[in-house]
Amino acid sequence: MTIYESDLPGVGKKYEIELESDERLVIVTHNTGKREIFKKDMQGADSEKIFELPDRLARKVGTILEGAYFQPVQSKRVETMLADETFIEWYSLSPESTLVGKPLKESNVREETGVSIVAIQREGELVSAPGPDTVLEGGDTLVVVGDRDDCRAFESLVSGTNE
């Protein structure tokens, strides 16, 4: 990868970055701090402006691209977002929970919290479509789908803190 740098007197600086294939990314850094980002299909082609960023935003975006901006904190649970406000979450079922020993149809999980249990992981095996008669055991990992509040309600249920 080659980066060409040139001065633009009275304007700022220009960086031209060779991408894979023949494309080139052109970044014009204005003296005002504004960055304009262009794309060229090949070396001699006309530049096509993609977007522009003010100075501060450009720096922030730059650190994200660099991989330095996010320092993810180790999360206690895995959380995956399905849509805007719908999550798939993994919970481990505490032996103290009131759910232990009950078949799903008696647990009233959906009525009480709003989440659906879509899978159960038990000692390395996966019960992919738990039925109404599936009995929950302490130590199970429950995979549920629900919105943020529902998941929170469910969390206290599985941890056994909610009587």
Binding site: L8, P9, F38, G44
Partner: protein, 425 residues
């Protein structure tokens, strides 16, 4: 009462200029010709001679010359002068000697082609028309210098700034800017210096000595210029920069040296400090404000009737110097090893003339009746305003229609020049 009138004059000025800018932006044109035209419209020559209230049948508002703005008014004149100072200050600020030296071969070559062709044509044309060296020298400067302000802005607006044609264009502008700094020093010495050669030589040497002193100040004073703006307050940076810039420019003018040249060197002095970025950001709006006043003032001072006298002169100059810039620009593009299409674009873009031609014209007016015959000076002034109006609109239009022009012209160019142009650097 007098103060009230003056404030409303200034209000009219800024409102008119703002409106002109709005219209120019709407129709995608450069603002400079619009500032000039609105100045002309409000001048005693146009607004002052038409009795609008009488046309409307209203007697309440003043009319005739009472309504028109006067270019001699202290504020507008000073504002225009500050406009020149700021324009040249920015030129110096963005002028980096190291950059120029880094690309000296190509910039030098493209810039020299541009200088020889365009300045040369101007000299010859001026000599034929006026038979006077000083007039020819002024005309040469007016038709030679492209507009940094308009061209740079158009480059950004059109997105060409990221293309290969931006380099020869901006490089040539840097060459022109350096030349114009020296040219203005010589010109103002010639204008102020008086008629005979020994006197002129005397004032040129004073001007050169002044430049030399400024150069030494720039060279040895970097640390001082650096320290002069060490502060966290934007307010103080602006005030100190203005204090230094306007004081030195004013002192130069008082000594009979061009204030524009002094401003250029003050800019250069700041260009090697860490404050360039702050200065550019903080003073750009100030520059644009006063530059607008300058263009407006140019319009105010112009009697559109004079265009009739110089129409033929303008036509000849447009026909000769328009294509001349196209050719020198194209050639400059080839020096940068650009293909036919991009080289043509360089030519199309460089055609624009603007602020510096007007600065030259306003300096030439100082010599009216002394070093320059009154009639010649007026002619040159009216010529340069008409010429800039035409060339600035022509240049921006050529850039906007470049794709259509390219599709017609480029196949012929490619057919003709099968052998690659020489280039060595």
């Amino acid at each position: 009462m007098a103060a009230e009138t003056a404030l409303i004059d200034v209000g009219i000025l800024f409102a008119a200029v703002a409106l002109a800018g709005l219209i120019a932006a709407r129709i995608n044109q450069s603002v400079i010709p619009f500032y000039i035209v609105v100045g002309m419209l409000l001048s005693p020559y146009v607004l002052g001679t038409v009795d609008f209230p009488a046309l409307l049948g209203v007697d309440l508002i003043p009319h005739g010359s009472a309504l028109a703005l006067n270019g001699e008014s202290e504020f507008i004149h000073l504002g225009a002068e500050l406009g020149i100072v700021f324009l040249l200050f920015f030129l110096g600020l963005e002028f980096n000697l190291d950059r120029l030296l880094a690309a000296k071969h190509r910039i030098g070559k493209a810039g020299t082609i541009d200088l020889v062709i365009n300045f040369g044509i101007g000299l010859v044309l001026g000599w034929i028309l006026f038979g006077d060296f000083l007039a020819a020298f002024i005309l040469a400067g007016i038709v030679y210098i492209s507009s940094s302000a308009i061209i740079t802005k158009s480059l950004i607006d059109m997105g060409w700034i990221a293309n290969d044609e931006a380099n020869p264009m901006l490089g040539t502008l840097v060459y022109e800017d350096l030349f114009i700094a020296v040219y203005l020093a010589v010109l103002s010495a010639l204008i102020i210096g008086g008629g005979d050669i020994s006197e002129a030589l005397g004032s040129i040497s004073i001007a050169m000595a002044f430049i030399l002193v400024l150069l030494l100040v720039v060279y040895f004073g970097t640390a001082w210029f650096q320290r002069s703006l060490e502060t966290d307050s934007n307010e103080f940076i602006v005030l100190r920069a203005l204090g230094i810039l306007v004081l030195i420019s004013g002192a130069a003018l008082a000594l009979g040296v061009s204030e524009a040249v002094a401003a250029f060197f003050v800019g250069m002095a700041f260009s090697s400090t860490d404050h360039v970025h702050d200065l550019e950001q903080l003073l750009e709006p100030v520059r644009d404000t006063f530059a607008a006043v300058f263009f407006f003032w140019i319009g105010l001072e112009t009697n559109p009737q004079l265009f009739i006298d110089v129409a033929l002169l303008i036509a000849i100059a447009v026909v000769l110097t328009g294509p001349a810039k196209l050719i020198s620009g194209y050639w400059g593009g080839r020096v940068y090893r650009l293909d036919e299409r991009r080289s043509l674009r360089v030519g199309l873009g460089m055609t624009t003339r603007g602020e510096f031609s007007l600065i030259i014209a306003s300096i030439a007016m100082l010599g009216a009746g002394t070093t320059l015959a009154e009639g010649t000076a007026n002619q040159l002034y009216a010529f340069s305003v008409g010429y800039v109006l035409f060339m600035s609109i022509l240049g921006t239009t050529l850039m906007q229609y470049s794709s259509q022009i390219e599709s017609v012209v480029v196949p012929r160019l490619e057919g003709k020049s099968t052998s690659p142009q020489p280039s060595d650097d």
